[in-house]
Amino acid sequence: MENTVKQIVEKYNTNRNRLMDMLIDIQEAEGYISRNAIATLSQLLDMSQADVEQTLSFYHFFSSKPRGKYVVYLNNSPVAYMFGREAIKEAFEKSAGIKFGEVTSDGRIGLFDTSCIGMNDQEPAAIINNMVFTRLTPYRVRELVKMMKEDKPIEELRKESFGDGKNYLPSLRSMVSSNIRRKGMILSDDYHYGTVIREKLPAMSPESVIGEIKHSSIRGRGGAGFPTGLKWEFCRRAKGEKHYVVCNADEGEPGTFKDRVILTEKPELVFEGMALAGYAIGGEEGILYIRYEYRYMKDYLEEVLHKMRKEGLLGTNISGIEGFNFDIRIQFGAGAYVCGEESALLESLEGKRGEPRDKPPFPVEKGYLGCPTIINNVETFATAVRIVQNGGEWFTQFGTDDSTGTKILSISGDCMFPGVYEVNWGFNVEDMLDMVGAYDVQAVQVGGPSGTLIGPDEFHRTLGYSDLSTGGSMIIFGKQRNLLRDVVVNFMEFFIEESCGSCSTCRNMTQVMNTKLKKILAGKGVAKDLKDLQEWGRVLNASRCGLGQTAANPIISSLKNFRPLYEALLQKDKDFDEGFDLEKSVQASCNFVGRVPVFNHH
């Protein structure tokens, strides 16, 4: 073990900033990160052991205890439940003989829950030893567990044919489907990667590249919608030893999976966009920060980078432009939704806990290692290539005045054809539902849990930064769904699980509000509870980052648009009920003394 850790630390030049990589490598080599490994690591890096643990314990996929030879992470997003997660869970537990959260006594199989893994269009899905298994059925689960018990190599567990698109490639060999249902400028096949770098850039100055991006009026595709051209310009102007380009592929918003599809089908376009950005801001290093759920793409993406280096699209003096040097490395996360927030992502890139930073300063001034850094979404980089190819003016013909271009939507839930759709901004929800074959729709979650839950009377609204803004997650719920019990509670628990805990507001208020929601669901609610929820939610606005500020949205938004669902659960004859259950509260002491008190029920 000690030697393994030593080798791993040397591989990353004993650089503390690469602690994430070291922990990932140790976890993959040993199956977990033992006390001894932590001790060796802390010694070699001159950190306290607890300091190593503070990074380790932040991330869901790191473990200081063995998690089993076969580790099953079963997605727990609402859509997984809608497509039979309960039965899958039961099948796993029954055939493995353990509960979720446990490891079999022989250390062979571990079962764990995990937040949305970006497979909402092919649920129920699980990650087993970094390989994604989609469209699970109880039969398949029994088969899988049987093979685990027979000690079969993980590759043999993969019985289905490979997914569509590039998922069959030898370096990918994945069961995942890309499910591209509609192509636009990004997903279309009429662009050959490298064209912009070879044919356009030699005749363009960095300033003119930024000029075209600004002229296109493109705004960030991750959800926040900051104008991309301005971001690049600020960064170019900011003084620093180095400038960095970071691509945010940490798509953790439940229900979004379009970055996975872009990176599977068009990775060259994304990497070309990063190089282009490097040219524009004067940076030579790019980092793709990608969520650990997509670890199965590692070899494939490395292969694409290797190919692009060989073709001269990455490296030094690219395309014959003196001084245009750029290369990209891949950094994996380890399971933390909050790392999709750009400053938390930077902390994670530096090997630390993914706690968002205070702003100002913004990353364009002080980002990765304190240097000016741009962080853009996967889709933004891909789009930038097409903008520079055809000009900013060309781009503005797509979409609307305030939301130019196309948007790739991840559509899932109750519809005939879940998958990825590239549409022009300005598309309305009604058309979207008809496009995907969604009938008898009760509600659509626009933009994931941090977005809005809308009902039919708002389906005329359009997708765009000034109306329904979205990073791309669209989850459709049919009439048969229980929105409060199956969706809102699930989303609240997602935020509770994924909060970094740094702000007092987000760490506590989500919990307090969820407790109240559950009280209402248990039939103990009164009218005042709804007022409380509305008011209490406002406290979250004082949180540092977007996660915290939107963490009450599942309740606030459903309360606004689906109030009758709440009202139907309230007690009509009471205006006060603290929800206190005396019998439950004294149960532990009753068990201890072996006596049961007699309660006077009123």
């Binding site: 607890a50 909060s499 805990g501 702000c503 007092s504 506590n508 919990q511 209490w536």
Partner: protein
């Protein structure tokens, strides 16, 4: 003093050196903005959010935001005051803060803020979480029931190599501030006392000897917290 700038807090004209954090600039002008996680001279990390103010319609933490020329800051509005009180209440219900039995009573900033903001009964239900008390170090008791995750100990209590004695563990609602097991064994008495002093609540205690000052004669027994900030 050519870099003096003008700004306003709740309509009152103020002056400060450019680049100062709002909370300090306000204090210089005799205006108290409450803080819990902030410590003078230590890099801020807006963790407790109690110093939130409204600038241009947005909530910002005054311990991390530098004051700029012409800035208009809203700090004493009913909304902000209630937000601060809410945060105090949240901290109370999410831990187990039993002031009458606490060694820090009278010197505790959370207790003092609760008095200043006239908290009677928190509007939120008590969670009564089960939290451990770590007494494994020969010098220090880390009582998790009282921790408010301000990070002061994490930022300030370090050994000569710059390694932190205290760190975060886990995240979100399971977050803990823990003392490094090995380093906790050898922490010297002066550092342990500093850790206890820097803790705004009674979560870090030095073993054997508690406090010299009796209850009734402590920091916040006579005057509310923030009384030192006057013109």
């Amino acid at each position: 003093m050519s870099n003096l700038i003008k700004f306003k807090i709740d309509g009152k004209e103020c002056m400060a050196e450019a680049g100062k954090f709002i909370v300090d600039a306000a204090a210089d002008n005799g205006i108290y903005i409450p803080t819990l996680c902030n410590m003078k001279g230590v890099k801020p990390k807006g963790a407790c959010r109690i110093c939130s103010v409204r600038i241009n319609g947005r909530l910002m933490t005054s311990c991390t935001t530098p004051v700029t020329d012409g800035m208009e800051i809203e700090s004493n509005s009913a909304e902000i005051q209630d937000l601060r009180k809410s945060i105090i209440e949240l901290l109370f219900v999410s831990g187990n803060h039993f002031c009458p039995a606490c060694e820090k009573s009278g010197n505790c900033e959370l207790q003092a803020l609760a008095y200043r903001y006239q908290m009677m009964v928190p509007r939120y239900p008590y969670e009564f979480p089960m939290k451990p008390v770590d007494a494994s170090s020969p010098r220090i008791i880390k009582d998790q029931n009282r921790c408010i995750f301000c990070k002061r100990c994490i930022k300030t209590i370090k050994d000569k190599n710059g390694r932190s004695y205290f760190v975060f563990r886990n995240r979100g609602h399971k977050l803990e501030v823990v003392l490094d097991e090995e380093m906790g064994k050898t922490i010297d008495i002066a550092t342990a006392h500093l850790a206890m002093e820097n803790c705004p609540v009674g979560s870090i205690l030095v073993k054997e000897k508690g406090f010299d000052t009796p209850i009734g004669k402590r920091k916040f027994d006579k005057e509310p917290i923030g009384s030192d900030i006057k013109l």
